[in-house]
């Protein structure tokens, strides 16, 4: 029987007086260099979806000179099906706070922002209280734990745009600008918030970093397998008997076990058709192909990604076209409108699918493929580039059933 590995998940951590801040104290004792080395050694990768090595990011940022530096915690959790950051913010905000402190200390920032999705009213309340309590108990601002480390934290509420989950769009949003991606380079590490060196980390990544530095969980960094270390929070949803938030060790559990053991299998005796492994910006995994250990590399090998950890199980009772329309509508509405491939491409895809649904006539697979490639190869930001991943994978796998046919990505 498979089981969870609990590090990030656990009892509520809300009372600042009961929390020891062992990780940050540990880091303050070790110094910045060694702290970063620990994170590098842990092979921690970003948990927001892009999987960039966290230690490397911190190291690069720590080496950049700037008038000031910023650490930004990306809590704009907008990928449909994802609710792990919400859990961490609502139930374990002290862990998040500690992660922010750690990262800020490591890169040499004395100002941090946490950008929380606007709809997360509870999380915003909780974290506002945590910041206030930390300041009151002299855990923020200056001379933190009797060191020279000082940190100011500001909470910013998102205004409801999916694109602001993209780090450069998020920075624009904090600056009061329109939520749209920036041209890279310069990367945020060089010129980020208010043109200063900035590290943007996902909530879960910061909590993992806190685990790595936690003397009580020294084994955390050794969990998993090479290339996929530590644990991952999974947001299981869809046609499952036991949907919810789970924490698993990388490489030690298969997708099959996740669906059928952890989540209790498919609801109401239905059969599984496919799994969306990491939110709707990832390509689906068919029901036949679930028997592989959960890791970054296993999904990459399958042309997909574990994304944000939003695992959505889809049974055979659904109309594929409806699912595609749903996802397409989402991307059409949520493109920031800046680059032509994403804005116009997603609009046209939605139109084509809608017409197909209404008329039932043959669909122009070549046209979908042309538009799909245009978006993937030429869109301005990662969100745009991956906006057609799910729809393309549906057509590739179930083209015959849909009477569409053909490979989408050239």
């Amino acid at each position: 029987m498979v089981s969870e590995k609990l590090y990030l998940k656990g009892d509520k951590l809300l009372n600042i007086l009961d929390y020891d801040f062992k990780s940050i104290k540990n880091a303050l004792r070790m110094g910045r260099k060694e702290t970063i080395q620990k994170i590098k050694d842990s092979e921690l990768k970003g948990r927001g979806g892009a999987a960039f090595p966290t230690g490397l990011k911190w190291q690069l940022a720590s080496e950049v000179e700037g008038e000031e530096k910023f650490l930004v915690c990306n809590a704009d959790e907008g990928e449909p099906g994802t609710f792990k950051d919400r859990y961490l913010l609502e139930e374990r905000p002290l862990k998040v706070l500690e992660g922010i402190m750690l990262a800020a200390f490591a890169i040499g920032a004395d100002k941090a922002y946490i950008y929380i999705r606007g709809e997360y009213t509870r999380a915003i309340e909780v974290f506002t209280e945590i910041i206030a309590a930390a300041r009151k108990n002299k855990i923020l601002d200056s001379k933190i734990f009797d060191s020279n480390f000082k940190l100011e934290i500001k909470l910013v509420r998102g205004a409801g745009a999916y694109v602001c989950g993209d780090e450069t769009s998020l920075l624009n949003s904090i600056e009061g600008k329109r939520g749209r991606s920036r041209i890279k380079p310069p990367y945020p590490i060089q010129e980020g918030l208010f043109s200063q060196p900035t590290v943007v980390n996902n909530v879960e990544s910061l909590c993992c970093a806190a685990e790595v530095l936690n003397p009580d969980s020294e084994e955390f960094a050794n969990l998993g397998i090479e290339g996929s270390r530590g644990t991952k929070l999974l947001c299981l949803s869809g046609d499952l008997n036991k949907p919810g938030l789970y924490e698993v060790e990388f490489g030690k559990i298969t997708l099959q076990e996740i669906i059928y053991d952890l989540a209790g299998g498919i609801k109401a005796g239905e059969n599984l058709k496919f799994v969306i492994p990491g939110g709707i910006s990832t390509a689906l995994i068919t029901a036949k192909d679930l028997d592989f250990p959960y890791s970054y590399q296993a999904f990459e090998k399958r042309g997909s990604s574990l994304g944000s950890g939003a695992v959505i199980a889809v049974s055979k009772k659904h109309d594929l076209l409806d699912l595609m329309l749903n996802v397409s509508r989402f991307y059409m509405d949520e493109t920031c409108g800046t680059c032509f491939p994403c804005r116009e491409g997603n609009r046209q895809i939605n139109k084509i699918l809608k017409e197909f649904k209404n008329s039932g006539q043959k669909i122009d697979a070549e046209l979908i493929s042309d538009i799909g490639n245009t978006i993937r190869l030429a869109a301005r930001c990662g969100l745009g580039q991956s906006s057609l991943n799910f729809i393309s994978s549906v057509i590739e796998n179930y083209g015959q059933e849909l009477k569409i046919g053909g490979k989408i990505y050239a």
């Binding site: 041209i183 059409m332 491939p341 046209q348 030429a378």
Partner: protein, 570 residues
């Protein structure tokens, strides 16, 4: 220096150069749409994407710096196919249909989209046009917006914000509802728009154009009861041939006059004449202010875009503006008084039409303070279109002369068409009038050229005149801030458009490189060829004062040739 390969061509290139610029060096044209030289990089249209060896995703050439060892393919099959597909997506949003079609478009003969289609070899169109149902914005006296034609390239936004320093446009909404609009969708007539029309020059489609009066003017020309007089601004004669010849820098003053006569104007006069007059009135005002300790610096008031700018953003400096009307308005006032009397025509029957390189002149003519001076204002583009529609073979026309009374001008008036020109014309006259001696060299090179802000100290007898020249409203703002911070000037020339009037928002949309330089050379060439080169020596100006206005700054001159301005809100 670094080495890179573009389309198989090995190149040695400077660091920090975009792939787009590097390709240009290799004589490779990469199609662009949202890119415009002089504006910030937007990276939105993605038409300039190229393939970089070893990278799967394509990269925008405008926004990607070339790196050592890069192997770039600018026109590979992958790239070409993508551009074609992308172009289909763009065209679908441009909404071409029976109502909005290419034949009736303001950009029918210089459409950037059409040029791009040709460049990338578009061969099929599979997508239906998308109707957004946005209405036309006709709230402005100068500029019309047709949002249905807008493809959201953001060039107008960036031009207005970055070059002109104003920012009346913005992007609103997201997703497919993303549109370019004005603040709270109020319309161009209800925001701080200066009517300069620089956005029109940047628009790749027909989404922005002037408020057309060409058809009304054609109608009036066929009304035998009206006596229709026309005036042409200095910058028109060096640009009017561009839509016919597709090259810049030709002087076609004589053909312009002939064409206007053929179109049926009863008298063809020159705004240059009232430019000379402006020098007399404004120069007198300057000398008076200097001598009597009046408000300095004195600001020029010829550019209606600049006037609206100062009214919105620096109303506390309105008293620094010369009270002299602009040459266009002076002309209108004189045409309906002096000319009417001299020619024995009832002013009620006179219709005054202007041909201007400017869209803001349309607004100026409608100002309450000067209403009735000028009846209709045509841009250089509109006149070119009228000439075409009248079947006139412009380039091969014989030359004719302006009608005399309000048509003779000095070279000093010609240079009003370029940045620095009003200053130079004023310096020529002021120096001679103050010192009583003839200038040895009348070319004031110190105020020439295309530098954004020029400062000069000019010795006029015992007086050291501190002068500044600014063109483009971004530069105007910079000079205003210098003044605010205490920098002292006596006389400042402000022009709303980059380059001055020759770069005006009503000029032909450039088809040539370095168009401003070429137009400017032509303007100075006209001045050089003239024997009469100083405003105060214009015999018809002398005649006007002797017979009608008495002297510069007289009570009558003030009544006809001077005006007031008003503070406007932001």
């Amino acid at each position: 220096m670094l080495k890179a390969v573009i389309d198989g061509i090995e190149m040695e290139l400077k660091e920090k150069m975009s792939i787009l610029d590097a390709a240009k060096k290799a004589k490779i044209n990469i199609p662009t749409l949202c890119y415009e030289e002089g504006l910030s990089i937007y990276g939105g249209c993605r038409l300039c994407v190229v393939e970089i060896e070893g990278e799967e995703l394509l990269k925008p050439a405008c926004a990607t710096d070339i790196q050592a060892g890069m192997e770039i393919k600018t026109h590979s099959k992958k790239v070409r196919n993508l551009r074609k597909n992308l172009f289909e997506l763009i065209i679908a949003t441009h909404n071409i249909d029976c109502q909005l079609n290419c034949l009736t478009c303001s950009r029918a003969n210089n459409c950037e989209l059409k040029n791009i289609a040709e460049d990338i070899g578009v061969s099929k169109m599979r997508l239906d046009p998308i109707k957004r149902g946005e209405g036309i914005d006709n709230s402005s006296y100068s500029i019309i917006r047709e949002p249905e034609k807008c493809i959201s390239c953001n060039r107008c936004i960036r031009k207005c914000e970055e070059v002109q320093g104003i920012g009346i446009f913005t992007t609103a909404n997201r997703g497919p509802e993303t549109v370019v609009t004005t603040f709270k969708n109020r319309g161009m007539g209800n925001v701080e728009c200066t009517n300069c029309g620089q956005c029109i020059l940047s628009c790749p489609t027909g989404a922005l154009h002037e408020l057309y009066q060409k058809d009304i003017v054609l109608d009036i020309l066929s009304d035998q009861t009206k006596h229709v007089v026309v005036q042409t601004a200095p910058a028109v004669r060096v640009a009017i041939s561009e839509p016919f010849s597709n090259q810049a820098g030709d002087i076609s003053t004589g053909q312009l006059v002939t064409a206007l006569k053929r179109l049926g104007f009863d008298a063809v006069f020159d705004t240059n004449f009232t430019a000379d007059l402006t020098i007399m009135e404004e120069g007198t005002e300057l000398i008076e202010r200097i001598n009597s300790g009046g408000k300095l610096p004195l600001f020029t008031s010829c550019s209606p875009g600049w006037i609206k700018f100062i009214e919105h953003f620096y109303p506390e400096y309105l008293d620094n503006l010369s009270s002299a009307k602009s040459p266009q308005q002076m002309f209108g006032a004189l045409a309906k008084t002096y000319y009417a009397e001299e020619a024995g025509i009832d002013p009620e029957d006179i219709v005054v039409v202007s041909v201007m390189p400017c869209t803001a002149k349309k607004f100026e003519a409608k100002r309450d303070e000067m209403a009735g001076d000028v009846d209709y204002v045509l841009t250089t583009r509109e006149l070119a279109s009228m000439i075409k529609s009248a079947g006139i073979d412009f380039l091969n026309l014989e030359e004719s002369e302006y009608d005399e009374l309000l048509g003779v001008s000095s070279g000093a008036a010609d240079i009003f068409g370029t940045t620095g020109g009003v200053m130079e014309a004023a310096l020529r006259t002021a120096t001679e009038l103050i010192t009583g001696q003839e200038l040895e060299n009348i070319d004031f090179d110190i105020v020439r050229g295309l530098e954004g802000i020029k400062k000069a100290e000019v010795e006029i007898g015992e007086l050291k005149l501190k002068a500044a020249v600014a063109h483009g409203l971004g530069n105007a703002r910079r000079v205003m801030e210098m003044i605010k911070e205490g920098e002292e000037f006596d006389f400042v020339e402000f022009m709303a458009c980059p380059g001055g009037c020759m770069g005006g928002g009503g000029q032909p949309i450039s088809c040539a490189d370095n168009v401003l330089e070429k137009r400017q050379q032509a303007i100075y060439e006209i001045d050089k060829q003239k024997t009469l080169r100083k405003s105060h020596e214009n015999p018809y100006i002398k005649k006007l004062y002797d017979n009608y206005l008495e002297k510069p700054g007289s009570e009558k001159a003030h009544r006809l040739l001077h005006t007031k301005y008003k503070a406007r809100k932001i």
